[in-house]
Symmetry: C2
Subunit: 319 residues, 2 copies
């Protein structure tokens, strides 16, 4: 585990609890000291951690911020050139580009757990952070099916389910369900604050829920939203279009029917996706059709729930 | 209690639990049957309920949707012309206009409890719905100080704190902290649904929190947002301005610093307003300065916590 913040620290704890032999390194002396005090085998030196990974043919998890990948990846290539590695970056396109610059894409499987809290650092982590959560693992042209299966198998041991998808699709979907909500929360927080102390006093559940993620460290929010600007811009434009059309309707006809009814129906529809009965599918990770099969599972809203002997087992909602 | 939906039903239960003698009427036969089965003295006939209010000099609470005020208010004027009355309407300007059309503003104190759930109807109500919540009571030109005090005293018995403010300020602030969040939630729900089944699968806390209120009955959302279009339009424009500026910055410089950092700081600032130490103030409701004094309490983010013998006691955050 390289990086022992909220995600790296939680992953280390979860995999340790699942019986994996884990060790790690972090540039943060305080995170290293706290993790050591909690009994984990970690330090502040990257190179020895990578050398040990090479000796033991370990899976390397890069749980560092996107900008740090350009620093860490050359060391991975130098000290553990044959190890598989994955990441936990919230923007997969730029992470993949960093890998392409410094290492081999065939040993890489991009990853992004869809879980978190407003906290950060080792102290905020917990072993059950990923229990029941979705963990995106990318399937791109260069992805090796068996490597994907090994990373998926490890991720499943954290308690997450694995969602296969391309890095492009990942970034497009997270712009919708994570990055835009962060921008909306920041906007609402400022609009509320402009209402003065009365706004604070009268703010109830609708405001508190809608602004909660504005409490996240703004540097992390900037890293994910700015890092995903290519996918985020058209989604932001879609939002501005919907709100602008509603503004026009409110000013001209006084009606917000289109926005309000569509949003209500769309939210219900998403809930139904969750509750549909599921069909089991099996994908041979050694087959030439493995990529296509995995991507199809994700596109249907399905996930991989077990991997063994080159076979991925998934569950897909029925239509 | 006229109307026994979520708010009326919860208010009836809360005041009954506090020892008030309560009775009610509702146009909904099913709500009346359910409330009767729960042991409350309610029916479907408006006129007898109002006649009894006149006999007992009761406070009348109009817990009906805004459009129903035009139907109910003429009966209040006919059958209980000397009773004080209040409402629970989420838009106070139009409610006040309805009162002005059909009844006397000097017997009226506008009210709006800042509490709710996604549920509706008698069955969704509970006696502790208002515990610790803010309950806005309007102070306008025609408001009688002693009448305001009597309504406030009753409202306090629900467990709420009372926030004095003008109807104009109420509508401006609720546009910021309630109505715009509803429009944002509807927008995000549609943007998320456009991401297909994958979006449902990957949606985590940031999306769930941000879209929760889109589950509210869309007719209720339309009633409050469309009813408040005068105050909502400039707030929606402010939001479009902030998001549009962020869009421009993202496209040109790649930075979202202004939006993200300002939103984060603004949310923290609102939290601090909540936690400041408080000063006690006392307002003589019979004095000519009562209006000014009450409004000043609200503007500072303070609330009224007790009323007795013509004196309102409030707590105001220190600067």
């Amino acid at each position: 585990m390289i990086g022992l913040g909220l995600i790296g620290g939680s992953t280390l704890r979860a995999l340790d609890a699942a019986g994996h032999r884990v060790w790690g390194a972090t540039a943060s002396a305080s995170d290293a000291a706290a993790a050591t005090a909690d009994g984990y085998d970690v330090g502040t030196e990257l190179v020895p951690a990578l050398q040990r990974a090479a000796q033991e043919d370990a899976l390397i998890v890069l749980a560092v911020p996107l900008p740090a990948l350009d620093t860490v990846l050359p060391h991975v290539t130098e000290y553990a050139p044959n190890c598989l590695f994955t990441d936990v970056t919230s923007v997969q396109g730029p992470a993949r580009e960093a890998v392409a610059r410094h290492a081999s894409l065939s040993r890489y499987v991009g990853g992004h757990p869809m879980a978190g809290t407003a906290g950060s650092g080792w102290g905020a982590g917990r072993p059950d952070l990923f229990s029941g959560a979705a963990w995106a693992l990318t399937v791109d042209t260069e992805t090796d099916g068996m490597a994907w299966g090994r990373v998926a198998s490890t991720v499943l041991d954290t308690g997450a389910v694995v969602v296969p998808l391309t890095s492009v699709t990942h970034d497009e979907v997270t712009a919708r369900i994570s990055h835009l909500p962060h921008l909306f929360a920041a906007t609402l927080a400022s609009i509320g604050a402009d209402g003065g102390p009365l706004a604070t006093l009268l703010a109830a559940g609708s405001f508190t829920d809608a602004t909660r993620v504005a409490a996240t460290n703004p540097d992390l929010v900037r890293a994910m939203t700015e890092g995903n600007h290519e996918a985020l811009l058209p989604v932001l434009d879609e939002a501005l279009g919907r709100l602008g059309a509603a503004r026009g309707a409110l000013a001209s006809t006084g009606s917000l029917a289109a926005l309000v009814h569509t949003g209500h129906t769309d939210l219900q529809r998403m809930g139904e996706n969750h509750s549909n009965p599921r069909t089991t599918v099996r994908i041979d990770l050694t087959a030439s059709t493995a990529h296509e099969g995995l991507i199809h599972v994700g596109e249907q809203g399905g996930s991989i729930t077990a991997v063994s002997e080159g076979l991925a087992v998934g569950h897909v909602p029925q239509r």
